[in-house]
Symmetry: C2
Subunit: 263 residues, 2 copies
Amino acid sequence: MFDTAVTSEAAKPLSSDLDFSTRRMNPQTIKVACSNCNLRELCMPMGLKPEELERIDEVVAVRRKVKRGATLFRNGEKFTSLYAIRTGFFKTCVATEDGRDQVTGFQMAGEIIGLDGIVQDHHTCDAVALEDAEVCVMPFDRIEELSREVTALQHHVHKIMSREIVREHGVMLLLGSMRAEERLAAFLLNLVQRLHARGFSQSELVLRMTREEIGSYLGLKLETVSRTFSKFVDENIVEVKQRHVRILDTDALKRIVNSQTCQ
Amino acid sequence: MFDTAVTSEAAKPLSSDLDFSTRRMNPQTIKVACSNCNLRELCMPMGLKPEELERIDEVVAVRRKVKRGATLFRNGEKFTSLYAIRTGFFKTCVATEDGRDQVTGFQMAGEIIGLDGIVQDHHTCDAVALEDAEVCVMPFDRIEELSREVTALQHHVHKIMSREIVREHGVMLLLGSMRAEERLAAFLLNLVQRLHARGFSQSELVLRMTREEIGSYLGLKLETVSRTFSKFVDENIVEVKQRHVRILDTDALKRIVNSQTCQ
DNA sequence: CGACACCTTGAAGAGGTTCAAGAAATGTGG
DNA sequence: CCACATTTCTTGAACCTCTTCAAGGTGTCG
């Protein structure tokens, strides 16, 4: 089957130009620049003039490492910054007073988290690293200041927020009108598509989250997630070995996602 | 019971300072100012200097009327403007290729719609008026331009977008982890709270949407919505007469919403 | 190697859906 | 303003999907 093959192929690195010398200065926070970051195209606007690019560097104050299982920010904490994920994988989740909680998203390299905090000046969800991660800390007042001067940045910020709104519309559609198989199929397709955009395989992925976290995100119990995976395996749509997933039949997944019409 | 009483009490107007003279000039679109609009506190930043307030007037190009059942914008249409609802009630909904669709929200006076369009430069959902409505048309390029100069406006735009993201987190929590009764209870509490903030009753409301639309929003079938209403009636929590709802026991609704702990 | 977290699978049960029929309200056109 | 068509809402009964409870298996990490 596929033992370590997945990890090695799927782990094709997107970046290798880190400045390790500055890195050693501070184990927790490192001063760095966007202008020579190769994730730039994911989190920053494109087509900037050199002078603007230089100014953008001012946005990122420092980098911060977050160990697996640790939180980047928590519900109730003061909001100060947005975070661009440089490496690693996060989940965000909201909770009710009565212990229930709901994973609202999984975020990977190049994606921005923390937008929830703007409106109340405090975060309203938790961001938890699902693997050791590193983020660029972008103080929001600095973003606002600079985006008054750099139009492209201003527009970019608006787009990022709008994108998040549209993404959540998609999740609402999923939660509101799809059945278990459709949800899981949509989830897998979405994950693999985002990973592919980052240079990873189109057909293989390593899940960074548990069945329970997938279930929370999809509005299902972990047993249902597990059973649905097994069903897909029976139907030769995927191979699953714990968190290693190989998609054998992408079209089948797509058909499952929009198949309500079949009746 | 409560026949027309609901309508008359619930319809307590928030505004009465419309400039009817300019209104007659054009049946579809009317040029007006924010500075003397009493919904200002809902859609515009507060604590502006007089000069800034004056500039804000430039944001609203025109007003536009939308008849009940008509769309303000549609999925796929070019995005140009955000809309501040002046009067009336909207729903927004997304759809899949295969006819399924999902109501993503209900919007009322003072709320802003159209944010979904920013990221792709095209709208990704439909906005449908559930009753005759009037909106202020705010061309987005003008908003961006002005928010580069008026810091309060810039921050306000960010807050509005963040608020929408947080609202959607709440809907995801609802769709992902609540049972039918909890969903409907949360829905009613949310509606009545927003209406109350606009000067309407805390306990009476007129639903502007059908059971089916409520169901779509809550991820339930219309029959389930109807049955759950009936259940609430049996338990003396609400009175329901078609779309007229009187809440008899707000605390009971609140208890239903966070009662997962009971076990 | 043992403890712990995570995953899988089965069987029973509950909550919500589907299908169907009828009642109530709303709107339309004469 | 009334009659009729249409839409919307309610309720029942059967069914189905997902959940719950339970047990055992697998993998991981100190």
